[in-house]
Amino acid sequence: MIRKILIVDDSPVARAIVKKCLPADRDFLLAEAGNGLEGLEKYREEHPDLTLLDLTMPVMDGFAALEAIRREDPEALVVVLSSDIQPKTIERVKSLGAALVLPKPPSAESLRETLATVSRLLGS
């Protein structure tokens, strides 16, 4: 069951969109970070069930953050939520351990489906 979600994105607008698109009938605990380094630190503090991770960010990008998070916690469930939807980008983040890649902007429907998919992954 996904309860605690960490949203890592440098754009406050992108983070607001994600929060608005999360199912309103579910009670999530949310944590936020504004770049990859903050995201890594928050991950260590919060141990979220799911991390929604942007790629193009200052300070530390999402590739480096994903690699660091998965190195520290090989079970970490990370969904990349990015506008960078190039085939080679998707290939790379999957090789780094991303469970799914979701293009921006998300919708309520796409996030609901994503949550259902990662919940199944957690259960398997």
Binding site: D10, S11, P12, V13, A14, A16, I17, K20, C21, G34, L55, T56, M57, P58, S82, S83, D84, I85, Q86, P87, K88, T89, R92, P103, K104, P105, A108
Partner: protein, 213 residues
């Protein structure tokens, strides 16, 4: 977040929304181009700022100052969202750009270089501007792309200021992103400049975009 100016008529929140739209739109544009050339394009965080039209050249010079000369592809767009797009590459990168498309580049072919630059411009500008417009509920028309293959930076002339901006003293919103072709020493710069006449519509459209969520 890189929003350098908070103009009186354009709030920080509106600039932040526009920055995220630019991020989404350039992501789409780079994916379109990457599918053609099979090389990953490394993206950077876009920037949005309000400026006077006559400040545009100064900004282009500042951003590209390490290069002696640029190849610039310019395209105007019209809709409720109107303005101009400038895609700039170091002039020295022309051969490298050609190699992205040709399996085995042969002798220098100026016509092929021109067509390559125009095609890259057409894909990136069309997809990026088109996506921003689409996200804001608009559709735009484009002028044919115009290439200036070798612009010396210190002589970058005022005629580069797009006529679409309606005069050097008018306000304009500048959206800028820098990108690299992975494993190649080629940087590119995309500047989108929305003219002052678009601003009121743009503010409403940005609010409407956020209201959808």
């Amino acid at each position: 977040m890189s929003i350098s100016t908070q103009p009186q008529s354009f709030s920080g929140d509106e600039a932040a929304i526009l920055q995220e739209l630019m991020n989404i739109a350039f992501g789409k544009a780079s994916a379109d181009l990457a599918r053609v050339i099979d090389i990953r394009i490394v993206l950077n965080v876009p920037q949005v700022e309000l400026m006077q039209a006559d400040g545009l050249l100064g900004r282009v010079r500042e951003e590209t100052r390490i290069y002696e000369a640029l190849s610039i592809i310019e395209q105007n767009f019209w809709g409720k969202f109107s303005g101009s797009a400038l895609l700039a590459f170091p002039a020295s990168a022309r051969k490298g750009l050609l190699s992205l498309f040709a399996e085995e580049p042969g002798e220098r072919n100026p016509l092929l270089e021109k067509e390559t630059l125009l095609e890259v411009g057409n894909i990136l500008i069309g997809a990026c501007v088109g996506k921003v417009a689409e996200l804001l509920g608009d559709s735009v028309s484009f002028s044919p792309p115009r290439l200036n293959p070798h612009v010396l930076l210190h002589t970058l002339a005022t005629e580069i200021v797009p006529a679409q901006l309606g005069g050097p003293d008018k306000g304009a919103i500048l959206m800028k992103t820098v990108f690299q072709f992975e494993d190649r020493d080629i940087n590119g710069f995309l500047f989108l400049v929305a003219n002052q006449d678009s601003m009121q519509w743009l503010q409403t459209a940005l609010r409407n975009f956020m209201a959808k969520f």
